[in-house]
Every structure is written in structure tokens, then in C-alpha cells.
Symmetry: C2
Subunit: 281 residues, 2 copies
DNA sequence: AACCAAAATCTCAATTATTGGGATTCAATA
DNA sequence: TATTGAATCCCAATAATTGAGATTTTGGTT
């Protein structure tokens, strides 16, 4: 990460200030937080406001503006990963009572980008758009486990504070990751939400780097051994199928992979999964 | 709009390329479209990709990335206009069969930022995130009608192509706007969607500038005169109430106006509307 | 209506950070 | 392994960004 475009970074840094804890910022607060001079900041704000990324509040304050909604609307229809994975999510939620999620890995964050739930599922606490914890749960673990060695090490070093705790050493982590990676799936009991079991599989891009995960969370109290085995199998197959289809996409660019039906997803799930796993060797 | 931050604008311009018609862009296409040099473009792209605004597709292409989803998630919970207007939208959709929308005006676009529909409503073609046409429909007209004189003129001049057509002169437009402004509400029959009637009221900020609109669209075939009168009254009152509440907000900053119930919105609808209209004189 | 304080914008010189041509490295494919 | 195209690096030139301070605008108050 050598050369970045400084000015652009400084503008985007303003958007980074907005968080669930602080959804309104005054110009002065931004100045203090980022150390920009007044004219410079107002120039940046003019740009961001003109484009709709920020809007003024009555009084003096700023919040995120409608342009982000517009972009998200587009993004939802643009991301081929979402298009590819949607039928699988529906399939999972249809077969097993629970909440199926598609999450994406970016920067060093995990974000839910699509979800589906069975009619009788407990309400999910992680709807679309919600960042997921990096240190806990099946999703995060299955992603971290599939990182390239050096990325994994970098992350362990950088986020030592949250990844390594009183009951986890760095070495234990590495061992866990190795096992998860080999298994191709990860199961976690009540790590994110008590009383809920989560099963997650990795979505891997061509170079074998994880770009996201597919998962199902279900009520732990109603979980049986067979059911868990079935879920695990479905998750693993779905993850493999999605990975394979997503990579294959590159050969038919511009081809809008019209949302596939749940039925055909089911088929793909069996077919592609095998092919893909075979190729992995 | 004299001094803008050039570098930042050039970065954001990249995001503007993405549209429903073209959701994938290759670096070369961007270079051609915007005329940036190769190193510069790649620097920009690195910034945008690192922040998650763009992601690489398999092959070589880029699409919008998960960061916009994250921001939208936040925005939805940050925008006090949405918080203020939500109960009114619910109220409208509850009282009248149809689709109630909250739209925001920014730049020179109209965007739907929240919606609700009655159980028996025909499906809306304008969900959250969807841009609305500038030249047709009750929403656009009620917003344009309430623009400050010079903004209105500027817009008429700039978007002459879509605003002034074979059956509309600029003067007729101005006259229409004047009438709509005076009425405080606008009704349009089948302009956006055939067979559908739309009623919209303006949401005005402190300085009387429109920042959005609240509207209800309903099946024209099932519309009666009384019903339309009732809707019109509700829309006008809601719009006035929201405008008043939104402006009042500035005196209790940081105060999270916890979502009000539909019942209390109903009350506000009557109360505030009168106050606000009185103040308008 | 006139006034006041705070917010937003402007001016402009200094300088710094950005730019782009060309060379180079990296990565994927045959 | 050779080959092509994509992505990055290098570095001097320059054009664009920056910020102190002055100025205007805005919104609220007496």
C-alpha cells in the first residue's frame, strides 16, 4: 500500500467518521477530529454535499445523505456475488429453520450484504448492511482461516487486542484456523448470539483468497445431530458452488446471470460443488 | 459553486459512472470516459477499492462495493428526516390503500428514501433507493414548485430538454408551479405509472427550501372524490407537520427523536399542521 | 429594522502534493 | 518457459492544493 491519493483519502476519511455511535458531525468537530484547516474542510464538505454523500441538518450538523442510498440500490443489483449467491441463500433458508446470510470480506471488515430467513426463524440481529464482529462467530473464523498466510499473520498481529484473549493464544488460533480451513466449513455455538449455532462456509475467489462467506444461524436448542450434519453439508456445498460459479463468470463478461431459481441452485449445489472441490486438490 | 476540491471530485466522478445501464467498468473504459492518465486512475482505484467503495470482479472489471451498503445502513438510521417522517408514511399507508413514499431532493435528483404500503396495495415500482423522474409526477412537481425563484429558473433552463415538451411551454410550467405552490399539494394522474394517481406534499426546511416530499400513489380506477379529498388533506397536513417537526429539531440537537407511534403521528398531523401553516403566512 | 455573532466563503501567495510519460514489475496464459 | 497485458514504480515538472487572515453571508436577537 505504497502510493495512495492523499486528497481523495482525506475526503473519504470524512465519511469514515460517521458511525452508529456518532451519526452527526459538525464542521468544527470534523476539523478537530481530522485536523483539516477550515477552508479546506469546507471545500471538502462542499464536494460531499453537492454530490449528496452528506446533507446538512437543521442547526449545524451533517449526516450521511441520499447518494449512499442510491449507490446501495445500484450495488445490490450490480454485485455478481449477490446474484450468484441469492438462490443458495434462499435454498438454505428454505431447507433449514434459521437465518441464511451472505457476507462479504473487505478491508478488514465483514459485512452482511444479503440475507434470507425461513418463515419460522428467530429474528436475525444481522440484517443487510450490518458489520459483523471480526473476532467471534463462524463467519469470521471461516474467513480468517482461509486468508493467505501472510494476511492472516498480519491480521493476528494488528488485531491482537480482539483476536487473542485470556483463553486464546495466537498459536491456538493458528491451529484452529488450520483445522477450519481443512474442514472447509466452521461451526460455532453461541459466540455471537447466545443460544444460536452458526455454520459458515468460505467463498473463495480465483486466487483462493476469501471474498466472503455463506452461513446459516439456527436455534441451538432445536438442533439435532443429523440436522447439523445436513446443514454443514449444504453450507459446504453451497460455498463451493458459489465460489466456482463466481470464478467461472469471468469468461462471459456482461452476461447478466439472471437470478437462478432455487431448484436449479439445488442442482448446482451438487454438481459444481464436486467439480470445484476436485479442482482444489 | 466556485471553488471545489478538484482531486476529490475526480475520485467521486468515478463512482458516478456506475449506473443501472452500466454496472461494470474496466479501468480502460474509465480512463477513456474520464480522461485520466493510467497511473492516476490506478491510484484513485486503489483508494476506492481499499475503502470498499469498489470491488474487482473476476476477469477485469469493477463494481460498487460493500462500503456503500454499510453507509446506507447507517444513513437509514441517521437521517432525522426519515425518523420524523416514518410514522406519517405508516399512517398514510394505513389509512389509504396505496404506496406511501418519502423522497429527498438533492443535487438535481429526487430519490426515494423510505416507503410503506398498505397490505392491499399494488406493488410499487419505486422502492427505496430508486431515483424518481424529474419531469413527471406529483412528487417532482411539488418539489420544483417550491424551489426558490432563481433555482427554479435555473432548472427550467438547464433541463429544458425534459421539462419543456411539445405540450408544455416554460410559461405554462411557471404557472403550474405557482398554482401547486399555493395549493401546498400536487395531484397527478398516471404520469409516472399509467392507471395510478399520485398525491404529493412538499417538505420544507427552515428557509422554505424544499428538501423532499411525502406522497401517496393509489389505483386511479378505485379512486373516489371523497377519498381523494381525504388523501389530499392527509398529505398536506403530513407534509406541514413533518416540515415543522424537522425544523424544530434544531433546538434539541443530539436528541434522538425515537420513532413516534402512528397514533401520535396522527395527533401531530392535526396539531403541527395548523401551527405550521399559520407560520407560513 | 438594525444589529450581532457565528458560519461559510473568498483572496492569494507559498509550497506541497499531484500528475503522467516511460520504465519496470507482476501475473496470468499459452 | 515465453509472452502478453495489467498494475505499479520512478521522478522531474508543474499545476493544483493548502491555509492564514480578511470578508461576506446567514440566522437569530434586541
Amino acid at each position: 500500500m505504497s502510493s495512495t491519493s492523499g486528497s481523495g483519502d482525506r475526503i473519504l476519511a470524512i465519511l469514515d467518521l460517521f458511525s452508529p455511535d456518532r451519526r452527526e458531525w459538525s464542521p468544527d468537530a470534523i476539523m478537530a477530529a481530522l485536523g483539516y484547516s477550515r477552508p479546506t474542510l469546507y471545500r471538502y464538505l462542499k464536494t460531499l454535499k453537492a454530490a449528496g454523500y452528506l446533507v446538512s441538518l437543521p442547526g449545524d450538523g451533517l449526516t450521511l445523505g441520499p447518494r449512499v442510498t442510491e449507490l446501495d440500490f445500484l450495488m445490490q443489483r450490480s454485485d455478481p456475488l449477490i446474484a450468484t449467491a441469492s438462490p443458495f441463500i434462499a435454498l438454505l433458508a428454505g431447507r433449514h429453520p434459521g437465518v441464511a446470510l451472505l457476507t462479504r470480506w473487505y478491508g478488514s471488515k465483514i459485512l452482511c450484504v444479503a440475507s434470507d430467513r425461513s418463515p419460522d426463524a428467530p429474528v436475525s440481529s444481522y440484517p443487510r448492511g450490518q458489520p459483523m464482529p471480526l473476532a467471534r462467530g463462524a463467519i469470521s473464523r471461516v474467513i480468517l482461516a482461509n486468508l493467505a498466510r501472510r494476511d492472516q499473520e498480519r491480521l493476528i498481529a494488528e488485531r491482537r487486542d480482539i483476536l487473542v484473549g485470556p483463553d486464546t493464544t495466537a498459536d491456538a488460533l493458528r491451529e484452529t484456523y488450520r483445522a477450519v480451513r481443512r474442514a472447509g466449513v466452521c461451526i460455532a455455538w453461541g459466540e455471537v448470539t447466545p443460544g444460536v449455532v452458526g455454520v459458515a462456509g468460505p467463498i473463495l475467489a480465483a486466487e483462493r483468497t476469501p471474498i466472503g462467506a455463506i452461513s446459516l444461524t439456527a436455534d441451538a436448542a432445536q438442533m439435532t445431530e443429523e440436522r447439523l450434519a445436513a446443514i454443514t453439508r449444504d453450507i459446504r456445498d453451497s460455498a463451493a458452488a458459489i465460489s466456482g460459479m463466481f470464478c467461472a463468470r469471468q469468461h462471459r463478461p456482461g452476461d447478466d446471470p439472471a437470478l437462478k431459481s432455487v431448484a436449479s441452485a439445488d442442482q448446482d449445489c451438487r454438481d459444481s460443488a464436486q467439480h470445484f472441490r476436485r479442482r482444489r486438490q
